[in-house]
Symmetry: C2
Subunit: 249 residues, 2 copies
């Protein structure tokens, strides 16, 4: 077996070989700077968008970067992600989920930094960007290039996560206005999944789920026949969430 480090042996009492001073134990661990990076998706003009800033860092001059920051002492990482979102965009109450941790020792040019990637979804219309430092703005997902660090890889991981997730959970509504037409919803799915879907089947699918509430309102200012506007029935969804079993690969 592996030889115990001297520090560990010291910490153990003689009777039970239990470590008594857990603070000393933790102090003996190597420490690593931790950051959180937020991949913030939006949807506008029938395109999936990502919020990026110019990198602060000279060697990445001209390159784009995710919104990230280090985690403060004793800050839970979920809270750090919400904090970054708030600081950079002024928004709270945004959908946010942890996706994956990236730990390649060479991923940051300044030394080892581990980063935890979070994915957020927000509605571009509802949330005007007020803080435009570092050229903060929305980029079309399909034209993303020239990223600092390993941020391209992180964005791709979040995109894959989103593609999978949106098919199994009602996330997409976070990217749309409260009231939306079926066409907008379909455009959203098509943009994220990168496929085209049959309009009739798409509508039938959502009709059969019976999770859309007809607001009685119609689209306005469209240059064609206006469609009905719907809301998603989150309450009903939460109540009827079913546990699904099936083998499929």
């Amino acid at each position: 077996m592996k030889k115990e480090p001297a520090v560990l042996a010291e910490l153990k009492s003689h009777e039970g070989l239990f470590i008594k001073d857990v603070h000393k134990l933790v102090d003996s661990y190597p420490r690593v700077p931790i950051t959180v990076d937020c991949v913030i998706f939006g949807f506008d003009e029938n395109e999936l968008k990502v919020l990026l800033i110019r990198s602060d860092i000279q060697i990445y001059k001209g390159k784009w970067s995710l919104l990230g920051d280090f985690a403060e002492d004793n800050e839970e990482l979920d809270d750090a992600a919400y904090r970054i979102l708030k600081e950079r965009t002024g928004m709270s109450d945004v959908y946010l989920d942890q996706v994956r941790t990236f730990s390649n020792p060479k991923r940051h040019p300044g030394g080892r930094v581990i980063t935890v990637a979070y994915c957020s979804l927000l509605n571009i219309q509802h949330h005007e960007l007020k803080i435009l430092d570092n050229e903060l703005h929305w980029h079309s997902y399909n034209s993303i290039a020239n990223m600092a660090f390993d941020h391209k890889e992180i964005i791709e991981a979040c995109h894959a996560w989103l593609q999978k997730r949106i098919q199994e959970h009602p996330l997409g509504f976070n990217l749309l206005p409260d009231k939306f037409s079926l066409r907008e919803l379909q455009n959203l799915y098509e943009a994220i999944l990168g496929v085209s879907l049959d309009r009739r089947n798409f509508r039938k699918k959502f009709a059969s789920m019976d999770l859309l509430i007809d607001t009685g309102e119609m689209e306005e200012d469209v240059p064609h026949r206006p469609g009905k506007l719907y809301k998603f029935n989150f309450d009903k969804y939460e109540k009827n969430k079913r546990k699904w079993v099936g083998i499929d690969f």
Copy 2:
């Protein structure tokens, strides 16, 4: 907007406001000890098992703990997880996947420690445990209690991950011997998903996938009619992996 910390302002050059010394930047970040915890699943006697040790730590005396260790300097976390597995069980070439990062500042009594949970699947028969320090042994998943730290929560997260994952990917075969009967396979699914499945439909499902290779061998030493033994056709699976699109929630 958020006021820039003094250290940041210092690091920026006057012309472009770009940070020149990235090492100084990274040195200014708070540092956190990082550990990796492995939830190692096995399958034996028709039960899902988890590999646990007794906690080292006095205040958790008598409690069970996951196999974990801190990440070494400049060690990628995936590598750390493989290392722990190797050190503790002597095994390599084991299925392993990152599940989630846990960062509650109070999760470790010795101070803040962030841990990244990994899930491994291995075949209990093929891998005899040779290193039994800290009472290392297999516990039935259903009788797990009395865990140190937040390890109960971590195990549950990995179990949920496994339940979902096994339905969509051919992971389960990692828990079985190379050659297995359909009954063993079904028992595995039933144990992990906590449901009972119709035997005929289960067999039909796998027959229609056409991913099992009939080895021509039969079970031996069973007190009833022996079943055929199969292998999983990983090559064929990899070649035909299809991208699935469908909305279902």
